[in-house]
């Protein structure tokens, strides 16, 4: 995991390495300065020598300037290293996601990927910056301050050891108790937020059922829960500062007592005493910092793991070595195809599928919910790989094609389709980057979208909001069809892509297909019989198997499922006698 992440530091290796160097220099200055401060008092003020004050003052000024420069440089490089690192992480993840196949995408949820690319990266960035700046600083400061303290007085520094031991153990105990508690709280906290999200999305349901009070009570209970969990965790955490102060004050008192006697017996100066006080601060602060770093790292660890997962994920569909770069025609063949989504899944989703579709044919696919219609067609542009058997396009196994070539020739309108923010024209150009205006308009006319686009105040320049929320479902579907048509594919697959389009427009689209793109193979999945009944052949799928193939008339005679579906859509709903069986 660590290796995957660190590999992404790349061009920011230099700032990542320079930062600790400057941090060390800065710490050295910070150690020297209290020493100089003490000298100002000892050999300047106490001696009454303005000259000494000025001299040491100048030294200290120089030290402060150096410390300033080192500090600024350390800060600058730390910023560069950490933000650069996070940039590379985002880029590496995003780039690799682009290589994912459908099954890779299925493995991670959309929301999960978004969190990994945003929140998780921010966490790692902050942790990385912390580590660069503090991981060296705190222990180094601790060691230097201890060293300086022992140089001043070996016996007094024994007090420090005691303080370090005491505070170290206390901090360790607190942190190790609090950490798991916090992990639990954050989990609950995420749950709370997702319940808010759920409510915002489902506000119409809440209001329609007048469940506002019910939801508020549910929420209050959850937020009350989080409240008490937070208190439980933070109750322990609040011991941190007072314990540290306790250790510090105890040191001060002890040093004052012993130091005073040493000064009187002339083995210590007052200035040295003062700098000992400063070193107490330094040492104990470093200890606090170390415990903080520990917490930061463990918190960032989960994020780092999630990021590494995305980067390490191997796309399971790759371009073949010597890929075929031309698709001969739009013929499709399924040869004893078996398929399941998960290798260890029990049952095949598709079972022994054998099909032959000739180039230019129109093929309808009908089947109940869960009959694997979408799965079947997604094998054609090789969005998933078959488990057994083979799928051939233009006579060649899809696994031998260059992926881009294959997918350019097999255009697919997905069931769950998406428009992107941008103008209508930009969205259409996904199909063909350099399409002319005429091409755009022709595709839209075929998809029966031209008319409504023209009716929009800004026509083809109309801006589509993210997720296409400002066009209706039917309009969205028509735009998606037009986008696919712009590819001028040999095979066009519509996966339930006209469900929100009214029947009249649906018929017009099919008419346009028939007349304008007769050579393209058209595969249409539909719920409505009317969408497929004029097809050259209709495939009836049932629970992952081909139940029947034939024309509308043939199927009405031979397929009970088909007849059933047909009747449910054409005749008045009759009594239960014939529709009693549910297939799910």
């Amino acid at each position: 995991m660590l290796q995957t992440l660190l590999a992404q530091v790349r061009e920011f290796k230099k700032p990542s390495l320079i930062t600790p160097v400057f941090v060390i220099l800065e710490v050295i200055m910070e150690i020297i300065i209290p020493y100089l401060m003490a000298s100002i008092i000892d050999s300047g003020v106490n001696q009454g020598s303005i000259q000494n004050v000025c001299l040491i003052g100048l030294c200290m000024l120089a030290a402060a300037m150096l410390s300033l420069i080192f500090g600024v440089l350390a800060g600058k490089y730390a910023a560069r290293a950490s933000t650069g690192f996070s940039r590379n992480l985002r880029k590496a993840m995003f780039d690799n996601i682009q290589n994912y196949s459908f099954s890779n995408i299925d493995k991670f949820s959309t929301a999960g990927l978004v969190t990994r690319l945003t929140t998780d990266v921010t966490n790692v960035q902050n942790a990385y910056q912390m580590i660069l700046r503090l991981c060296i600083r705190a222990p180094f400061m601790l060691i230097c301050a201890m060293f300086m303290a022992s140089r001043i007085s070996l016996s007094l520094s024994g007090i420090f050891w005691g303080a370090i031991l005491f505070l170290g153990i206390a901090l360790f105990l607190i942190t190790s108790h609090v950490h798991p508690l916090f992990m639990k709280v954050f989990q609950k906290y995420d749950d709370l937020n997702s319940s808010v999200q759920e409510n915002v999305g489902a506000i119409r349901v809440v209001k329609a059922y007048v469940r506002e009070d019910y939801e508020v009570n549910k929420f209050k209970k959850a937020s009350g829960n989080i409240y008490s969990m937070f208190i439980k965790a933070e109750r322990l955490l609040v011991f941190n500062t007072p314990l540290m102060q306790f250790a510090m004050y105890a040191c001060i008192l002890l040093i004052s007592w012993l130091g005073a006697q040493m000064i009187v017996s002339d083995s210590l100066t007052t200035g040295q005493l003062m700098s000992l006080f400063t070193y107490v601060m330094n040492i104990l602060m470093s200890l606090m910092m170390i415990s903080m770093i520990f917490v930061m790292i463990t918190m960032a660890k989960a994020s780092a793991e999630r990021i590494a997962e995305v980067i390490d994920e191997q796309p399971d569909i790759l371009n073949p070595a010597c890929a075929v770069r031309e698709v001969k025609d739009g013929a499709v063949e399924f040869d004893h195809v078996n398929f399941k989504y998960k290798a260890d899944g029990e049952n095949n989703v598709l079972e022994d599928i054998c099909l032959t579709i000739r180039s230019g044919e129109t093929v309808g696919i009908i089947g109940g919910t869960g009959s694997a219609k979408s799965t079947l067609v997604q094998l054609i542009p090789r969005l998933y790989d078959v488990k057994e058997g083979s799928v051939r396009v233009g006579g060649v196994d899809v696994r031998e094609y260059d992926l881009e070539t294959l997918r350019d020739e097999v255009a697919m309108v997905l069931q769950k389709n998406v428009l992107f923010s941008g103008t209508i024209e930009e969205n259409l150009r996904w199909g063909k980057k350099n399409a002319t205006r005429e091409e755009l308009e022709r595709a839209c006319r075929l998809a029966q979208a031209d008319e409504f686009i023209r009716a929009l105040p800004e026509g083809y320049k109309t801006y589509i909001e993210q997720g296409g929320t400002n066009v209706s479902g039917g309009q969205k579907q028509r735009l998606c069809i037009a986008r696919a048509l712009l590819k001028k594919p040999r095979i066009l697959i519509l996966d339930d892509s006209t469900s929100a389009v009214d029947t009249r427009t649906d018929a017009l689209i099919r008419k346009a297909f028939r007349e304008e793109i007769p050579d393209t193979t058209k595969i249409i999945i539909a719920q409505r019989i009317s969408s497929v009944q004029d097809a050259d052949k209709i495939i009836v799928l049932n629970e992952g198997r081909v139940e029947n193939i034939g024309t509308h008339e043939e199927l009405l005679k031979s397929s009970p499922i088909y007849r059933d579906v047909y009747e449910s859509q054409t005749t008045k709903s009759q009594s239960t006698e014939e529709g009693g069986v549910v297939r799910e």
Partner: protein, 622 residues
């Protein structure tokens, strides 16, 4: 935003928000902070006395008496102990104050959000609403738990140290103040630079996040269109822009600490030189011991100032967050001027009598102010639209002159192209939106007079987009009627034809659904939504494309169940599938916000108008 004034009022409001529930706690925290600050100031003062009174006098003398030193150390131990205890105590109290306030803010936000009209959710992106709960309240937590007490303790330290410094030497205090002024100026400069970069960073971060979200959502489309390289390139550009401003923002934030720290070092040197000149020349009565402790004060004076300056960025961010939180709390809630209530009733001697328990008969309780009487009217489900005009804004009317009569027990269907206004009509009946002109009457009562909650309770609605809640299947169905028994839930599920698939789920009715029922197919989710409406058992039912994702064979079965349920009740149906609506009493054909044809299936077909075209479009090839 009027920045200066705005920030002040927001801060004040935030304070008063905290104080509303935690006045006593805040007062004690204030007191404890004073104690702890005093303890640490006393510690600094003690340094002066330690050297001047307990060490210097004995230097060189052979029989030193450490008795007084011991006594003062014991005294100091008590003072320190008080300091440590009060630090612990105020931190402990602050935990309750912070978390309690966070809980109150969340609860207030949520309860208020639930009262907001649908229009609010239409006009505010859901991501924005969410970020109020997550990002904005998180910044507030930091501010209340850390920045606020730190601010208080810094102010107290600065004031008390300032006073102590003045007593030691006024001229030297002047020098320190001058230096501090320089520090403040420099830090403001750096902070404002980093602030502007931080704003740029937030903007670009927002862009990157939006792009990521959009692309992840559409990742499968990207694959299908081989758009990987383009999206990589575009992301790379946005990502680089973000890197640039993040780099700058962090750079300036990072250098603030060394700059402040070393300016205070320089301050120390300058003060030391000026001080020793004063002490040695004897001006202003400054002793050497006095100078030594003045220098200690000098450090404790600049420390809190640099601390505050480092908090500046997070305070600014928290105030922006608080502003958004209060904005939501200030949104005007849904107005409800209704006074007609829905009650249980029983017929006694031909008259309706109000009942406490559920009787199965519902009545509208109508109070008449003019003659101070209350009448009861049985709930029947008679809905009338009387020349209704509606628009989401006054300028853009989307429904024109809608007239509609739905008698109890009738099935009214709406068909028409997408965007014709079918869904909008149903949203008017339950008053998700209020109409511009005309009247909607429910059992003869203008719906504006009916309490919204009662109005909605009498309407069952299955929406176009199915939403399920995190929880078991049982809980989701029970959402329609919270007190429904297990048997009632199962009966409703059977009615909706959902029972068989539910029993096939790993834990049946106790299967927990998450992420809006992500593990169910859209058809299955619709069946659950129908079961949810069925268990509510309302006199009027609205089905908005409720069966669009269910295959037609299953739909037929569901339909039969629904027909049984809806016997004697009013149903409004919207559907694309004409087979769904064929047996309706009245079919309204809508186009561009108007009803252009109405009648039953046969009469509309005979008319050979739009409905005929739609219908024959379906069966064109026969």
């Amino acid at each position: 935003m009027n920045k200066k004034k705005g920030a002040g009022t927001i801060l004040k409001r935030l304070f008063s928000y905290v104080l509303r529930y935690y006045k006593l706690q805040c007062l004690s925290v204030l007191f404890l902070i004073i104690v702890s600050t005093m303890a640490s100031v006393a510690g600094t003062l003690f340094m002066k006395n330690l050297i001047d009174d307990y060490i210097l006098p004995f230097i060189g003398s052979s029989n030193s008496d450490f008795g007084p030193l011991f006594r003062v150390l014991v005294k100091m131990a008590f003072i320190y102990a008080a300091g440590v205890l009060s630090v612990w105590a105020y931190n402990r109290i602050m935990v309750n104050v912070t978390q309690g306030t966070m809980r109150n803010i969340r609860n207030d936000l949520f309860s208020h959000m639930e009262t907001l009209p649908i229009r609010y959710f239409d006009t505010h992106p859901h991501g924005d609403i969410m970020s109020i709960y997550t990002n904005d309240t998180d910044t507030l937590r930091q501010m209340i738990s850390q920045s606020m007490p730190q601010l208080v303790s810094c102010v107290i330290t600065v004031v008390s140290v300032f006073v102590s410094m003045l007593t030691l030497s006024a001229p030297l205090t002047g020098v320190t103040i001058l230096m501090v002024a320089v520090m403040v100026m420099v830090s403001r400069n750096v902070a404002s630079k980093s602030g502007s970069h931080f704003i740029a960073q937030q903007v670009r971060l927002g862009k990157v996040n939006a792009y990521i979200e959009e692309m992840m959502e559409g990742q499968k489309v990207v694959k299908v269109f081989c758009y990987e390289d383009e999206s990589r390139e575009k992301f790379g550009k946005l990502n680089d822009e973000l890197f640039e401003s993040a780099d700058n923002a962090n750079k300036y934030a990072n250098i603030l600490m060394p700059v402040m720290g070393n300016l205070s070092n320089i301050n120390y040197v300058v003060t030391a030189i000026a001080g020793s000149v004063l002490a040695i020349t004897g001006i202003g009565g400054l002793t050497l011991g006095g100078l030594a402790s003045f220098l200690q004060f000098n450090r404790s004076f600049s420390q809190p100032i640099s601390q505050i300056s480092q908090q500046l960025n997070s305070i600014i961010m928290a105030l922006a967050g608080a502003e958004r939180v209060f904005q939501l709390m200030d949104e005007a809630p849904e107005v409800d001027g209704g006074y007609v209530e829905l009650t249980n009733a029983r017929v006694e001697a031909g008259r309706l009598v109000e009942m406490k328990e559920r009787t199965g008969i519902w009545a509208w309780k109508h109070y008449h102010r003019e003659d101070n009487t209350t009448t009861y009217e049985q709930l029947k489900g008679d809905v009338v639209f009387d020349h209704v005009d509606f628009g989401y804004s006054d300028e853009k009317i989307v429904l024109h002159d809608i007239e509609l009569y739905a008698k109890p027990g009738e099935k009214i269907a709406f068909v028409g192209a997408t965007g014709a206004g079918k869904t909008t009509i149903t949203n008017l009946i339950n008053r998700f939106y209020d109409i511009q002109d005309g009247k909607i009457r429910y059992d003869g009562i203008n719906i504006n007079k009916i309490k919204k909650a009662d109005l909605r309770r009498s309407l069952g609605i299955v929406l176009q987009d199915t939403h399920l809640f995190t929880g078991t299947v049982m809980e989701n169905i029970r959402y329609g009627k919270l007190e429904a028994t297990e048997e009632e839930v199962i009966a409703a599920a059977r009615l909706a034809n959902a029972h068989s698939f539910i029993t096939h789920l790993p834990k049946g009715y106790q299967t927990v659904l998450t992420g809006d029922g992500a593990n169910l197919s859209s058809g299955q989710r619709q069946l659950l939504a129908i079961a949810r409406a069925a268990v509510a058992d309302p006199p009027v039912l609205i089905l908005d494309e409720a069966t669009s994702s269910i295959d037609t064979r299953t739909e037929k079965i569901v339909q039969e169940g629904m027909d049984r349920l809806m016997e004697g009740r009013t149903v409004f149906v919207i559907a694309h599938r004409l087979s769904t609506i064929k047996n309706s009493n009245v079919i309204m054909v809508m186009d561009h916000g108007r009803i252009i044809e109405r009648g039953d299936h046969e009469s509309l077909l005979a008319k050979k108008g739009i409905y005929y075209q739609l219908y024959t479009g379906l069966l064109e090839q026969e």
